[in-house]
Symmetry: C2
Subunit: 401 residues, 2 copies
Amino acid sequence: MTAQRDYAALVQQGLSLDLTRGKPSPRQLDLSNVMLKLPTSYRAADGSDGRNYGNLQGLRELRELFAPLVQVPAEQLVVGGNSSLTLMHDTIVHALLAPLPGAARRWVEEPEITFLCPVPGYDRHFTICERFGIKMVPVPMTATGPDMDVVEGLVATDPSVKGIWCVPKYSNPTGVVYSDETVRRLAAMPTAAPDFRIFWDNAYAVHHLTDTPAELADLLAISAGQGHPDRVFVYASTSKVTLAGAGVSFFGSSPANVEWFLHQTSKQSIGPDKLNQLRHVEFLGDAAGVAAHMRRHAELVGPKFELVDKVLTDRLGGLAEWTSPKGGYFVSLEVPHAAEVVARAKAAGIALTPAGATHPYGTDPADRTIRIAPTYPELDELERAITGLAVCVRLVAEERA
Amino acid sequence: MTAQRDYAALVQQGLSLDLTRGKPSPRQLDLSNVMLKLPTSYRAADGSDGRNYGNLQGLRELRELFAPLVQVPAEQLVVGGNSSLTLMHDTIVHALLAPLPGAARRWVEEPEITFLCPVPGYDRHFTICERFGIKMVPVPMTATGPDMDVVEGLVATDPSVKGIWCVPKYSNPTGVVYSDETVRRLAAMPTAAPDFRIFWDNAYAVHHLTDTPAELADLLAISAGQGHPDRVFVYASTSKVTLAGAGVSFFGSSPANVEWFLHQTSKQSIGPDKLNQLRHVEFLGDAAGVAAHMRRHAELVGPKFELVDKVLTDRLGGLAEWTSPKGGYFVSLEVPHAAEVVARAKAAGIALTPAGATHPYGTDPADRTIRIAPTYPELDELERAITGLAVCVRLVAEERA
């Protein structure tokens, strides 16, 4: 009955801790505080006035800065507002209401649209699909990315499969990096739908926690080489590079897709906030500047991931499984009766992402996955939270034994 | 043949002048340059960290600042990104893909959607409708707003009429301010569609050019008083208050509509750029600060409108008609054979908004309206451009006589 005693003591502490969302901590945001006084000039590299309307695609100097980091040629990159989620949402809206290159019709006219959802995955991807009545089919994640045998089988035979969500580097929430073989198969696979698209949410492209950054194969280029130039939509943002609410976002794709995207966007906007783009160029400078800045993030975030791993090892060795990502923002914990564990943690003042959130429709059939977001709390709070979470896992295991 | 000689001389000058878009001039943008060094603090009034994610509705202090200016209670106001056009576009997208309060179904499921378009009007409104296959029916503008007999007749009998575009103050391009009677009738009129909406694009709410600002009746409140609380969508922005590409936008409506809008937006965004919101609060201060700032704009813009009026009077008295707005960004010039005049001006190096752009589908059946945007060029350039335009009007009149 140790676990019950520990849990009673935990509740007694009256904690109020939050491990729900992947938010940068205040100390991480402090790294970019100088941006509040930028840009020093409103003049873009081409001499244009960054204060006025215009330039739907975004400043060339910012596109050139991020092109190598997100693996998209600068001329095929579009700079958006403060949220890549908006770009993903709006791409699907555009595809629903205007035919994609290669599409027979608008998606809204299709009898059914299906997206493949590697699980565990990112709840906000799933929410977009659910909103638009897009059917979601889960695909198991492996240590090298989604199970490609399953993916290839589904896309080859079902013409309603129009998309797949991928967070290819330091995946949310497992931390998995897609292998070269996975990327090659995604690029090469035949698809029944001529307008099939890979939503390549490279949210953690530069968010390394070690000195040996993961390498990701260049899906856009490899797909083009395989005769599928229009297959890939690349997304990225600086939300977790500079300031979470005041970053810039990127959309990248083939020339035909970019033309299609900008055509839709031209009805929606007279141009992005170019002062924020100049702010980013001036602050980050170049690719080396981004790398140096991300190392400072890693100095703050890395110890938190190490702490999670240590506490889980000490407290749950043998009772549960979890990932040890080399980058990104999340740890995925696999335990029996995950929903009950989350409920017990909540009752003890530890807020976790709802169990099931990592799966389509909020339903984790195995009831096993808990997403841990360790970045926001400071180390002492994080230690209390993960220690408390471990108490809850042990309690549920003991009660269900 | 004076006109032909004048035109030959005009072409000889080799001008390159642009009267196409309603852009603030660099000197207007200079008025807000201090914003490039703001905000001095990232802390919002409620203590929250403006740098991080969250706060979908926008900072309360900014909503309170603009509430009286756009005639929407602060709790019913939403702050968007840098473009109210995006808010309008996205509202229509949301209504197409998710049922509005009071709607029987999503607009995309309707056999036909019709919007009333007071003409002359704003081309970007029409472009949104055209993009989504929304049928546009022109309604003549009068000196007090759209012809309300026509509007009332159409909305009462045709359930496909779901919307009307209105720029109620210093209308684009006529400068007309809707009368109290027009507003009252818009608020009170019975509509066949239960989900009819007025798209109230109050783009020039505070953009006065005289010391006697136009008063606009409060459509949102009056509609609620008439039993139509959900009828009105209010839009506004600071694009022509602070910085054209880096302003903030506003959406305001009834509590039910705002809840609906935020529900849709919650799938699209994790929150707006609150640093830009803080930048605006700190720079503008309060309603008096906005008024003082807008007087500085008027000092720059007012002489341009006076110049346009003077040149047109001197050169075209009796040959044409034009408006003399007391605010806003445009002058509407009515001449015979407008398309030919625009073509002749273009050949002489004077770029004008395409003839017809002020009408749905780019077609002005009377071929009469030319929109003049006098804000961007400085006075000497503007004088050359309007003088040249007058030469073109005279030339076409002479040739067609």
